[in-house]
């Protein structure tokens, strides 16, 4: 069987390649970061800016918390058959001072995780649809 074509599950939210990163925006006036991208009105109540720059967010962060899932979620999640448990982590980015959720990379044992652990961003398959493998950002513990 030929390998599926690989496409991002959502366009323009992350870069690919060896050092992938989430693509956010930064307000040109107050410098606040946004992910997902804010491109219309700044959400800092003290800022009236409507101009934003596209920025790649820090690739590394620390785990705020994490949760492993043992039941298949409802649609629109597209779960593999048979269903496999997966872990979601909330990760703090120190520079941007925000928290972003993402699945943990495949093969990472939930029991090896701890709040405060350093992780980095990777891009991995999340589901197959219409003969294409769709990818999304995930978190992976940094090699000690």
């Amino acid at each position: 069987m030929a390998a599926n074509e690989t496409v991002p599950a959502i366009e323009g939210w992350f870069t690919e390649g060896d050092n992938p990163a989430l693509i956010g925006t930064q307000c040109t006036q107050c410098k606040t970061f946004f992910f997902p991208r804010e491109e219309t009105y700044c959400r800092n109540p003290g800022c009236q800016s409507t101009e934003f720059e596209s920025v790649e967010l820090s690739r590394e962060g620390t785990i705020w918390s994490y949760a492993e899932h043992f039941y298949k979620p409802p649609a629109p999640y597209i779960a593999p058959e048979p269903f496999e448990p997966y872990t979601i982590a909330a990760v703090e980015l120190a520079e941007e001072k925000l928290v972003i959720l993402g699945q943990m990379a495949k093969g990472v044992a939930h029991s090896d995780l701890k709040a405060g652990m350093k992780v980095e961003l990777v891009v991995e398959p999340i589901y197959d649809l219409d003969d294409k493998t769709h990818t999304v950002w995930k978190w992976k513990p940094l090699a000690a």
Partner: protein, 395 residues
């Protein structure tokens, strides 16, 4: 000028999976509340409905749906939606009309018929809706968030699985004799810890189910109430606050937080600000509370609320639980009704049901789950997308 309004009547339809139309539950709760208040439906001049999004158009316009079902009377109407906080928003709308002199008697009603299983987002391809995207991109369910908060307590404060299970054991004992509760079973620690893991560290018996049910309160001006009751319960504070930017604690249904890069995190985080606002309005503090009804969407989340409503400092909730302070007979019983652990969640009715429990407790009508000498109580809850919800009642 007093900012108090009176709760003249309360009524509920028992929680369960009854498989009937939500309107039937709601009318039952309304009739019970009107009877409890000792007034006629035609004396109600404002109907404040809490919306259900799972029952089609009649649910979207819940206020009018119930007004029609009770018999069109020409009363003014409004319907509120604030997810789990809808009931408090409905109470606040009614209170505002009464305090401004526009209404004397308001009926606040929420009812729901819920589907089985995980609550799911709206159907269709919704690429600009975070509630849809969180499922699509990472399979992030509601229990995901509960589990993230629970694990955080374990890693930072040393909470244990036994602590979380103990909350369920406690609440199941509280709600055991509550006629409106859905689950009437005294769970043991072994049963809770033996139930299936859903979202580690939370197990099936520690995560709130979805239920059918209805709750109603009749709110009136203090002046009106004095003609019908010698000692009415008062609503002394209502909080429907939103977060203050930047809110950096991950909240359902978002998969990211605000950034604190340019503006520092406020002194009071969102969930701490919810009850704080109600206390300030009422001019009382956590030390004055005889009891609390908090939103135990998960057993572990109840522990967060102890801290958020000021019963103890951050990191001390487990001690409060272990010392029995929040158990019936303790210093400040939490969820004497049995909480969501015994009810499951009927979204638009739940915040109103919390107030019904406060009223029964403050009147001394709570039967075997009575908190002795209850003088003041607070509810705490939170709705998706930044809706704070807290109602403080006194007598």
């Amino acid at each position: 000028m007093s900012k108090d309004v009176a709760v003249l009547g309360v009524g509920m339809h028992p929680w369960g999976k009854w498989g009937k139309n939500f309107v039937e539950y709601g009318v039952k709760a309304c009739n019970d509340a009107l009877k409890d208040a000792g007034i006629d439906w035609k004396d109600v001049d404002f109907v404040s409905g809490a919306e259900t999004v799972r029952n089609g158009y009649p649910g979207y316009v819940a206020g009018a749906t119930f007004a029609q079902a009770l018999g069109w009377s020409g009363a003014s109407v409004a319907t509120s939606y604030a997810a789990c906080a809808s009931g408090a928003t409905g109470i606040n709308a009614a209170r505002a009309r009464i305090l401004s002199g526009m209404s004397d008697v308001a009926l606040v009603i929420g009812a729901d018929t819920t589907p089985k299983g995980f609550l799911a987002p709206n159907a269709g391809e919704r690429w600009d809706d975070p509630d849809w995207l969180r499922f699509r991109l990472m399979g992030c369910t509601n229990p995901t968030y509960f589990a993230l908060y629970a694990r955080r307590r374990m890693d930072i404060y040393g909470a244990t699985e036994e602590d979380f299970a103990q909350v369920k054991v406690k609440n199941s004992r509280h709600g055991f004799t509550n006629p409106n509760a859905r689950y009437k079973k005294k769970f043991t620690m072994e049963e809770v810890l033996g139930s299936n893991m859903v979202a580690d560290p939370l197990r099936l018996f520690e995560i709130c189910a979805t239920s059918d049910g209805a709750a109603c309160v009749v709110l009136t001006s203090m002046e009106y109430a004095k003609k019908h009751s010698t000692r009415p319960v008062r609503v002394s504070g209502v909080s429907t606050v939103t977060p203050t930017f930047p809110s950096t604690v991950i909240e359902m249904p978002n998969f990211s937080t605000d950034s604190a890069y340019s503006v520092p995190v406020p002194d009071t985080e969102f969930r701490d600000s919810i009850a704080a606002y109600a206390y300030e309005e009422a001019g009382v503090g956590p030390e004055d509370m005889s009891l609390a009804e908090v939103y135990d969407l998960s057993s572990a989340l109840e522990l967060d609320w102890y801290e958020n409503i000021g019963l103890c400092k951050p990191g001390e909730a487990e001690k409060l639980l272990r010392d029995g302070d929040t158990t019936l007979g303790g210093r400040v019983p939490v969820n004497p009704s049995g909480g969501l652990a015994c009810f499951g969640e009927a979204v638009p009715a739940q915040a109103i049901a919390q107030v019904c429990e406060l009223v029964w407790q403050l009147r001394g009508q709570a039967g075997e789950r009575q908190v002795e000498g209850a003088k003041a109580g607070i509810t705490a809850n939170q709705g998706l997308f930044g809706h704070g919800s807290s109602v403080l009642c006194t007598i």
